[in-house]
Subunit: 434 residues, 2 copies
């Protein structure tokens, strides 16, 4: 049985992003200033972001125009394919129909350029010269490096030291796109120096790398700004291009998902797929089970509290109300580096509190097992992060089989694993722990 | 200036491969039996290949049907995009129009699945259980591993030892697709044992790995066959899907190439693009300059003789008339492992002798320089092999600028470099030699 690929004509790329804020039951609790603990203003964020992104962060418009220059770049790989995984269905012998939206077709190999490109664009328009960011696994860093190379911006990436050492290829990719990459903690920032003073052998964390990047941008006097690859409202909004395309493609498939699934680290990949489907439901259309999948070793939604916390280790960022394991939580060194974050996007956290999504935690060996099954049937090796969505999709398909229920399942395959093969090698060697 | 992507509707995937043999001026000299030195027969090849592939190897039909089951799989990534590289044009400030046909969208990341899939299909149909092959850089090995996983065949890959050690990720990819990978030379074959006896520290060569794979297949009693990823007539024929699609896409672009360019190791990537355009020319249509680019450290066409030689080191394969540096030639360890082969496809060699193509040799540092320029403008990191085509395309675009000539240039970007980032890291560190 051949697979079926649902392509969308290029002129059907959505021209607006969907902003869920006005549709959130109860709205979103405000971000608080890290010093005063009062709700922050747009002016408070100016040292970090350009005005147009700050406006998007606070926007209550349901739809926000995608600039033509951004669509021109999206067109290099978008609309991303939606594929019915018939070979996987057959291998599982399930009555479920399994679809995946494949975001690994982007030049950086993941969904991250969906937001990196507009972020670079708005910064360029604001006269910014350098973008500073952090990266864990390297998907975000390489996406921002790519976007900066498109717009002629300098790009500086603070890469969590353990990844810097273990993933030289990701670093090589960022450098090939022209970015400079620094292992975090570094001697270049007060936050980095403090961490090294406390522990000279520190291998770093995402929260600490954020502190370093924020510090550098804030001290630049305006020539440099900061960029974040997940969590924030405007980032999730940019990612809704995924779900909006998927809605049109499910229509081409003459089907509608009963279940939508995404891996959730900061929440932008899951939100990108799920929010446009939840919009339909909230607007009185068909309802959908939305499942956000996180690693059982970093169980932000399934074990964390819903409270105000910092986004970084040093406490430089605003406080946001979210599911969090605490900003000093250091997750174990699992291979899905993109899911090793102590917090969750405020939007996703609010949806979870409103019972509009299900959170599920899965252990990493079960995820790699699913990733290998997927690769052998569909030919694509999933990124370690994406294997979490694959695991949940397979589990739902097996459950449908058990129940003898026809069911339509859609998940995002957020990226390929070409830069993560060591994880698969370790999996085959039996070296992975849960 | 945005790029322009010329997609082709899925139902326009060509349904036949183009066989250039009947159009070759003077035809093709026969292959000779390694023992008798007489022209080989179809029966001589039976220990190595299934009947349908042997028939294709000898076919004089101009068009050969692509099986529906193969097209079903092609559709996962085909038609491959043809992209006008406007950002690169702008960076070079050239009046030339530069197009590239991007084959890195396949699940294995290169053009190789175009032939791996039909080879696996015909073997499966013939009741074969295992496919044995060799790989240098790993592009071919991972493509055959992928194709075998689609058709439920076992796959055994002899990987040149230096690559086996330097490219654990490529090996990991093959194993993820379910293949078993052995470093060559190995103790498993007479050819391998002889090589190790002569030099216990041998790091292997492509010619030697071919000897091992051929030996295993020939001794299997029919349960296993051998598969080759380039050089042979049927392989080049399978790759003509590239050029046939490109012809249709150039029509969509309302343009026609003055120059077509491809990197040439065994010749299948270059031939895949160029042969359908040469067909137009030979049939009285528009003429085209076809440029085959090889590494200056393995200058098969530009320095090698045109004579009968073995395809492997041990002399187990038939003799073919081709440009060759001698079957015992061991190329230096350049990073474009896929171009480190002593010979050239007989079809490409014959076209060279008939002055229907130009051969050009380029040094590797100039290729990586071109690869980085391409990556920073187009967002795709080329495989080391593909940088040879990029180099020649940029040089032709700069020449057009010098001459103030509008000119249309088309090249194949045969694969991405995600598994070859060490080469870029070495290039940035100034460690590469020409």
């Amino acid at each position: 049985m051949p697979n079926t690929k649902f392509l969308l004509a290029e002129d059907r790329i959505p021209t607006t992003w969907y902003n869920v804020i006005p549709d959130l039951p109860g709205g979103l609790p405000p971000m608080l200033h890290p010093g005063t603990k009062e709700p922050i203003t747009e002016a408070d964020l100016e040292p970090l972001f350009p005005a147009e992104l700050i406006a998007q962060e606070f926007s209550t418009d349901r739809e926000v125009d995608i600039p033509g220059a951004v669509i021109d770049i999206y067109r290099q790989w978008r609309p991303a394919p939606l594929i019915r995984a018939r070979r996987l269905e057959q291998a599982l012998d399930t009555p479920a129909r399994i679809y995946f939206k494949y975001e690994g077709v982007s030049p950086a190999g993941s969904h991250k350029p969906n937001t990196a490109v507009p972020q670079a664009y708005y910064n360029k328009r604001a006269g910014v010269e350098r973008l500073i960011t952090e990266t864990g696994a390297g998907q975000w860093g390489s996406s921002l490096a790519l976007a900066c190379s498109y717009f002629g911006l300098a790009c500086e990436v603070y890469m969590v030291k353990v990844s810097y050492q273990q993933k030289p290829y990701r670093r090589g990719l960022m450098e090939t796109f022209g970015a400079s990459v620094t292992a975090s903690p570094s001697e270049l920032t007060a936050a980095g120096r403090a961490a090294l003073a406390a522990d000279p052998d520190s291998t770093g964390s995402l929260g600490l790398a954020i502190s370093e990047a924020v510090e550098v941008a804030a001290a630049s006097g305006g020539s440099a700004k900061y960029a974040l690859g997940s969590v924030l409202n405007h980032v999730l909004m940019h990612q809704t291009i995924i779900g909006q395309e998927a809605l049109l493609q499910m229509e081409l498939a003459d089907d509608y998902p009963d279940i939508v699934i995404g891996a959730a680290g900061g929440g932008s990949n899951f939100g990108g797929l799920a929010l446009p489907f939840l919009r339909e439901q909230l607007g009185g259309g068909r309802s959908v089970r939305a499942i956000a999948v996180e690693p059982s070793s970093c169980p932000t939604m399934t074990k964390g509290g819903y409270e105000y916390d910092f986004g970084d280790t040093a406490g430089l960022t605003p406080l946001t109300k979210m599911h969090t394991l605490g900003h000093d939580f250091v997750p174990p060194g699992i291979h899905a580096g993109g899911l090793r974050y102590h917090g969750m996007a405020p939007i996703i956290s609010a949806l979870k509190e409103a019972d509009l999504l299900e959170a599920r935690a899965v252990p990493q060996t079960a995820c790699f097992e699913a990733g290998v099954t997927f690769a052998r049937n569909e030919g694509i090796v999933p990124a370690p992060e994406s294997t979490h969505a694959v695991r949940a999709a397979i589990d739902e398909a097996l459950k449908a089989k058990e129940e003898g229920a026809e069911r339509s399942i859609l998940f995002t395959l957020s990226g390929h694993g070409h830069f993560d093969m060591q994880a698969y090698i370790d999996y085959f060697a039996g070296k992975l722990q849960d």
